[in-house]
Amino acid sequence: MKVSRVLSYTTRHLYLYRRSLPRLMEVFYWPLLDLLVWGFISVYLSTYKGSLPDFVTFFVGALILWDILFRCQQGISVSFLEDMWSRNLLNVFVSPMSPVEYVLSLLLISLFKLFLASTVMILVAMAMYSFNIFQFGVLLVPLVANLIVMGWAVGIITTGIILRYGQEAEVLAWGIAFLFQPVSAVFYPVSVLPPSIRTIARYVPSSHVFEGMRHVIATGTFPTKELVWAAGLNMVYLGAAVVFFYLNFKGVKKKGLLVKVGE
């Protein structure tokens, strides 16, 4: 493995974002619209004084955190699609870069996109709803790290599926994260879910992250149990994702489809 190759392939995507305004806009477009809609809903709900929790923290905080997962998944899958669309995968895989290095470069670029999008969201949330995400303090680190890793796991699996099934599976790159949204209990506690879905949610790392977030808001204490659960599940899923991608890559080379991805 060579770090220099991982970094050099990241520049391919950096060039892309420098060149393409629509792509750069896309990084900000959805998160900003989401933020505006949910932000105003929370402001409206807050006018009803009662025993309900602080809506702004609940919704806006949850939204910014949810976007981390989404960005990381999409950052990987969409960057892969870019290579597929421009029929560049052959050039990549006849170079000495290994599949692992290639995936690592996708992870790096997802962090870059995440950084751009989050910075803007955090600033807008501060300016418009005086919401400060940093109120979570150091707790933010494990929360964010778990969401990033889960986003990566989902993104790597998506990429593996697109590698195998080509353009027909493209839609996954845009939509798959939302499949996890209901069971992630982003905007409501897991306890409102029906028992069967609650069982599923227990095995979704992000549900523990958001439970953890609400735990802090409600009690001010560190949600150790939730975070340990999330981290444990994430390690298993990330490992499984890498194995899944590797097996797909191998299968695709066997079927002679690597050279036809995107056709």
Binding site: R5, Y9, R19, L90, N91, P96, K255, G256, L258
Partner: protein, 259 residues
């Protein structure tokens, strides 16, 4: 001693096999696309793979590049087993085809920069400037690839394939989208690289005249098997054809081909 290097080189290098293929086979769902072929490419040699559509030329090339896993057979490149030394081998060879492209939004120079980094090329700027010049694409270096004609993309892709000073170059129909003038110039350029650097080339094309002109040796594939091999003149003599085209038609239309 006063024997010129240019005399010695062929003697010193001719014996060196840069590509060795034994019993290479690829079966797709029970269909034998490549059927137990064996051949080698010597250092400084241009070997052409000739054959009708679907004969297995591209599949063979993709197996040599590790893009498609063979069903059976051995591949040694630069004296190393491809399965065990993929990274080392791929850093010393390269590939270009009219059928692959480069990231559309990036400019020609950005694309070459990315790939030169990927190959760890030393003296990147100089190398890129040199190749831009050699392929006559200096004036389009700041154009996004999307705006180029297919012939221009082909030339950029060829420039990419020479970034790492490869020892073996795999070219799948490299001139397919070039006009006659550009195709001729490209052939001369490749010949020059071949002579000056003892660059070995594995070459496919459907242009028979080109194959005659370019290749030191040719293997003729038909339905995954080698049905003839040798120098262009030898093959023409063996099949008593006046041109390679005549030979091609003879072989391709024999035993109920697509004729």
């Amino acid at each position: 001693m006063s024997i010129p290097q240019s005399w010695l080189r062929p003697i010193l290098t001719m014996a060196e096999r840069v590509v060795e293929v034994r019993g290479l086979t690829k079966v797709f769902n029970g269909f034998k696309a490549v059927d137990g072929i064996s051949f080698e490419v010597m250092k400084g040699e241009i070997l052409g793979i000739l054959g009708p559509n679907g004969a297995g030329k591209t599949t063979t090339m993709h197996m040599l590049l590790g893009l498609t896993t063979p069903t059976a057979g051995d591949i040694r490149i630069l004296g190393m087993d491809l399965r065990r030394n993929r990274e080392e081998i791929l850093s010393r060879v390269n590939f270009s085809s009219s059928y692959v492209s480069l990231p559309y939004s990036l400019t020609v120079r950005e694309n070459l920069t990315v790939f030169s980094r990927l190959y760890g090329v030393r003296g990147r700027r100089k190398k890129i400037a040199e190749l831009l010049d050699v392929f006559g694409i200096e004036e389009i270096k700041n154009e996004p690839t999307r705006r180029l004609s297919s012939g221009q993309i082909t030339r950029v892709s060829l420039a990419k394939s020479l970034l790492n000073d490869p020892e073996v170059l795999f070219l799948d129909e490299p001139t397919a989208s070039l006009d006659p003038d550009m195709a001729d110039r490209t052939r001369k350029l490749l010949k020059r690289f071949n002579r000056e650097r003892a660059l070995s080339i594995l070459y496919t094309s459907h242009n028979m005249q080109e194959m005659e002109e370019m290749c030191d040796r040719i293997i003729f594939l038909d339905r995954g098997r080698i049905v003839a091999s040798g120098g262009p003149a030898e093959i023409m003599a063996e099949f008593s054809g006046a041109t390679l085209e005549e030979v091609f038609l003879k072989i391709a239309r024999k035993d109920g081909g697509a004729g």
